[in-house]
Subunit: 353 residues, 2 copies
Amino acid sequence: MPQKVRIALDAMGGDFGASVVIPGAAIALGRRPDTEFLLFGDSAKIAPQLDQHPRLKAVSRVIHTDVAVSNDDKPSQALRRGRKTSSMWLAIEAVKKGEADVAVSAGNTGALVAMARFCLRTLDGIDRPALAAIWPTTRGESVVLDLGATIGGDAHHLVALSVMGSALASVLFGKPKPTVGLLNIGVEEMKGHEEIREAAEQLRAMNLPQLDYIGFVEGDGIGKGAADVVVTEGFSGNIALKAAEGTARQVTEFLRGAIQASLMARIGYLFARGAFAALRARLDPRRSNGSVVLGLKGIVVKSHGGTDAEGFASAVRVGYEMARCDLLTKINQTLNRDGGASASEPVAQEAVS
Amino acid sequence: MPQKVRIALDAMGGDFGASVVIPGAAIALGRRPDTEFLLFGDSAKIAPQLDQHPRLKAVSRVIHTDVAVSNDDKPSQALRRGRKTSSMWLAIEAVKKGEADVAVSAGNTGALVAMARFCLRTLDGIDRPALAAIWPTTRGESVVLDLGATIGGDAHHLVALSVMGSALASVLFGKPKPTVGLLNIGVEEMKGHEEIREAAEQLRAMNLPQLDYIGFVEGDGIGKGAADVVVTEGFSGNIALKAAEGTARQVTEFLRGAIQASLMARIGYLFARGAFAALRARLDPRRSNGSVVLGLKGIVVKSHGGTDAEGFASAVRVGYEMARCDLLTKINQTLNRDGGASASEPVAQEAVS
C-alpha cells in the first residue's frame, strides 16, 4: 500500500448524493489527513461542493460520469444499467484496478453487493460475499455478519463467515484471537437448523488458531457482547439488526414521550441533559455507520443511504481502517491457513437484499 | 363454556414453581373473579402457598403429582419422563378432557410445545403448532408469531400462521379484520425466501375476509406497529424477539449508566422519576408475559420461566381472555372458512425450541 490511503467514493450514492458525500469526506480527511480521494459522479454536482472544502479538493481527483444507480434499482437493473458506467461501478472498479485501496458507497445495498461481487469476484475458498457491521454492546462492540448480502447458507458458508468475521474483529478490536459465536435460538446443542449444528461441530473440530469458537449465541446475547463475532446467514442477521435498531428507536421515543408528559420531568431533563446527550451519542447510528462487504478480492464499505455528513465520515473511516490494517491480506492469510472454507458449496439462494 | 373460566395451572413450572404460580393466580383471581383453578403439582409445596390466599383456595382444586418437568429437560426427555404423570402434562390433559378451558405453564418452552402437541393434537388443516406473543409497539400492540415452536416452514405454513394470528389479534384487539404482514428483509417483492414470496401471493389471491394482508414488514417495522399481526417462521421470529428484548435492556442500561455518571443527572432523575417509572412500566416484560401455543385442539399459554407473581398473573390473564373469547372456535371457524391451510405439507423440521 502506498503511504496514503486511497479511497474511491461513489459521490452519487445515498439519499443526498454529493451534498452528503463530499462534506463527509472532508470531515474524514480532517481526522485522517493521510488520505487521498477518487470521486466518481456528476462533476457539475461535485464541483460546487468541493469548492467549499479546499483541503479535500487538494487531495481529490474527480472522475465524471452521468450514470448513477438509483435507490430503487434492483440488483439486476443496476448491473444492466450501470455496469462499467455508473459512479458506483467505477468506484468499485478503481479498487480492482489498484487505483484505490477501498471503495465507499451509500448507494442501495443490493446493487452494491451485486456490483462488488461481479466486479471484484470472490476470494478463493469463498462462494458468496457477506455484509458485516459493528454492533454496539454493553461491553463494547461486536462484529455481526451476514446482515443480508446472501440468504441462507450451509455449514461451510457459516464457517467461512466465522473466519472472515474474526479477521475483521482482530483488525478492528486489536484482538489476536476474537471469540466467535453462532446465532441460534437456543444454547443447547440440539436446537436450531442442521447447518448451524454442523458448523458448530466443524468449528470445534478445526480448532482454528485465529479464533475462539465459544458456542451458540441467542438473539439477546448479541447486545450483551457474548462474542466478539456473531455469525448467521443473511436473512436472520438482517432481521436481528433491524429488530434491534427499531427497538432502540422505540425505547428512546417512549422516553421522550414520558419526559414531555410532565413539567417535573421536563425540569429534570434540564438537569440531566448531559446524561441524555451521552445516551444519544452512545445510540447514535452514525457512530457505527459503515458495513463491510467481505469475501471479495477488494474491500467495499456500505454507508447507510439516509445518513448525514458525520455518518458518511464514519463509513469513510471504516474504509480507511480496513485499508490501513490490510484486512484483505489478513482474511486471505486466515483462509489459506485453514482452508476450511474452500470446500464450501453454493447451495443457497443468490444475494438480492 | 361454563359461566366461570376454568384454568389449569402447572404449579411446578418455571424457575420458582408454586411460590410464584400460586401468588400469581391469586393476583389474577382478584382481577377476574369469575375464574376457577385446577392446580397440578406437589401438594406439599402448593398447600402452604394456598393457605396464604384463602380466596384462591376457595375456587381451586389441587391434584397431586410428584413428577415435574425440569427447565433442562429436552422435549424428548420431558415426554419420556413426564407423559401422563407430570404437572405440565396433567394441566394440558385437563384441557383435553374438557375439565379446564385453558392451561398455563411457566415450564420450559420446548417441553411445553411438545407435550401440548402430543396431548392435544393439531387442528384440522394445521400441521405444526406456533408460539404467538403480544409485542408492544409505538402504536399499541401487535401479535407476532411464530416465536420458536417450529423451525422453518413452507408457504402454506405461513398462511396458516396468518390465519391463526389474525384470529388471536381480533380477539385481543377487538378488530374484526386485523392487518397482517410477512416478516422479510426488504419491502420489494423480489426479496426474501421463496416461501415468503409464495405465501404473499397466496394471501393476496385468497383475499380472506377475516384479515387484511398488507405486504412485507421488515425487522424494524414490528416495533412501529406496521401490522396488527407479523408472521414468520420460528427461527427468525425467535431471533427478532430476543434481539429486541436484548436491545431494550441494553438501552435502559445505557440510560442508567449515563444518569449515575453525574450528580446533576442524578438530581434531574429525582425530578423526572415519574417519567422514568412510566418508561419502566411501558417496557416491563411482565406486562406482555404470556405467549399462546396456537394450532392445537386446546389453548395453552406459556409464561416466562423467570417471571414473578405479577408476571405470572399476566399470563393467566392471557389464558382467561383466550378462553372467554373462545379463541379456539374462532380459529376453527376461520380455518374452515378458507381451508387455505389444509393443503399444508409437513416439509419443515420438528419443533425443538
